[in-house]
Symmetry: C2
Subunit: 435 residues, 2 copies
Amino acid sequence: MTSTDKERIMDMKSAAKKAKEASWILAESSSAEKNSALMRISAALELRINEIISANEIDLDRSAKEGISKPILKRLAFGEQKIREIIEGIQSLVSLADPVGKTLMATELDKGLDLYRVSCPIGVIGIIFESRPDALVQISTLCLKSGNTVLLKGGSEARETNKILAEIIEEAVKGHSIPDGWIHLVETRDEVKTMLELESHIDLIIPRGSNEFVRYIMDHSHIPVMGHADGICHVFVDQTADVEMAVSIAVDSKTQYVAVCNAAESLLVHEKISKEFLPKLKEAMDKKNVTLRGCDRTRNIINAEIATDADWKTEYLDYILSIKIVDSLDEAIEHINTYGSHHTDAIVSGDESSAQRFMNRVDSGGVYWNCSTRFADGFKYGLGAEVGVSTSKIHARGPVGLEGLVTYKYKLIGNGNIAADYAEKRKTFTHIRKV
Amino acid sequence: MTSTDKERIMDMKSAAKKAKEASWILAESSSAEKNSALMRISAALELRINEIISANEIDLDRSAKEGISKPILKRLAFGEQKIREIIEGIQSLVSLADPVGKTLMATELDKGLDLYRVSCPIGVIGIIFESRPDALVQISTLCLKSGNTVLLKGGSEARETNKILAEIIEEAVKGHSIPDGWIHLVETRDEVKTMLELESHIDLIIPRGSNEFVRYIMDHSHIPVMGHADGICHVFVDQTADVEMAVSIAVDSKTQYVAVCNAAESLLVHEKISKEFLPKLKEAMDKKNVTLRGCDRTRNIINAEIATDADWKTEYLDYILSIKIVDSLDEAIEHINTYGSHHTDAIVSGDESSAQRFMNRVDSGGVYWNCSTRFADGFKYGLGAEVGVSTSKIHARGPVGLEGLVTYKYKLIGNGNIAADYAEKRKTFTHIRKV
């Protein structure tokens, strides 16, 4: 490790400490203060749009020379139209309700002793994201609106773009009642390692990237991690399904955008409808050039490659679909809970009680009836932007927007009340729930 | 490891798998089914009360012979009165609202495409608790009511009592629409180690015990842990405090029950009121035989031992209080956020804006104004029983009752809706929030 590396890591530690201290102050900022900061950020991005475009061109040129793949270059590109979209996004964030300071519960414990459960920011959030520079703006503004301070590590391909974006955002609000140090750009991999150890300064890590990367983060930190590694989503075609609807939902779930976490990877079909359904599915999937991999019983009905046990656990992110025939709804549920990733799973069924059983028993963040898995997305859910999709069962599940970035604290307000009075029966609790 | 040990560990793994599968079914159980199971448990405990008392006598005799301390023997004792209290507790649990199946949010995404955020059980909960056998009954019935299956490890002193209690509870509901395998008693330390590795079967670990023990659990599992290690609670006496009230709150917070997590360990006092307050505090604390450890400025005003930096981070759980004079409200907030354990902290102040700033900026699960830290407790909050107190900021904070034992899932119900229609602008989202 060079001395510059060591300095960087010291800087990282002191930035995290500063972010922690800033989080205490930002927790108390009013909606007006936070919204005015967001408007300043949107104005500054508008004003300095040419600087952003120039920095992005440097990243694009260097990455093209390094032979980076076309899809990644496309995600890296941050031209005028994308920048204007992101500015509009900030303006719509301003109009969303402040998630902080909501009274979630209020109970009178005794006359003059009132308990409130109030929403509050989580504190310091560390976010590690992939190549898209728009993610930096989206995430940092979501954190600001929810009163959280943020440490950001973007993809190295986008380093110049990220640097100018972080600079513009930081300068835009400096000295305007938002505490210094609320945003910090982390630049090297070594700093990320350090980040994962800073339990006392960082409250939550949100990793966005490849499966292996997210798993590495989860395995190497005692800081809570919110996000998802795999997205192994299923479509189950029940015996009472409308066949045409089932084909349409399967095609959309698989092919509408194959490279994303909410695309379907496995299709399960009830034995009783399989002979009618599978040939029609094959016809439609052939048109989209989807490779089918089936269980033995599937291959007795249609042409398909052999699916092995590994296929049930694989996120292809490609034009490949695994298919299995099941004998019952319960077998489908067990398969999904065993092999799936608890992300989003759909049933196509004409029978309400089967659909309810599926939605109650399938242990996933999203359980859908008669619609495509591709709807699992913060924008589509009407949450505004999202910081990610969570397959965790603790705190927040599914697409995570502003509400997933807050927790709560209990405020208790009395007038000298002491516990001994209640322990020794001089007073008794009233426990009147107000909210 | 003996072959019996190996068998136990295999049993443990298969019990965890069974608990997982049972959790899918229990998630769908109705309130009526769960309440009727709770009534059966309460009746069975009543019917077999003599068996429980006999088992407890075996534990008490053995522990006394082993020279176990009096306070632990007292917590281990589970006589008729305590058993009747716990039976009453189950009956009051029946009357609490079911936390599962509540619609937390409902949005029409488009005509005929409705999104619901619905509360659901977390799944399988692993609980490791100290010597009190009443904890086993309380925890397992809280889990049942919230639709969670449970793996329980109690203190080895209470092994016979725990064994008969788990047996009675399991047998009482067997064959009555609650799935087999929903409760499992773990008996050895080796099994606990195995438990911590079963990420795919266990969703949440709740450890209750000493600091070192909770830290060990947190450091040795990738399963989310809910609970608290330290309870370093503060009382801050602001310059505008009513001195008599401040003394009373300090005495109650420190001495009403010294061995618990919500007892105060440190007192901070504003310089401007210190000369008036500290002598009165000393007089009151002397009567309760509390040893005072103070900073230099404190020791210029009253007699006290020297407090070192270590004192600010120590949970004494004893008749000892550390005292520091601060120059401002902000210094008090910074001290508490730096040295505290984010459990429960109180301000005594006559000034509302100072109190609000304290409650907004202190980063703890409980922030109190003009009352004792000893109120941080599920029963006192009116939550019914509690499974523990959480200092985590993710998911649940403070005393955790039924609501802290559920998470949510998104249910999306359509009629063949596919994402392509919205991506290609044939349809647009309405995003009408209904709940």
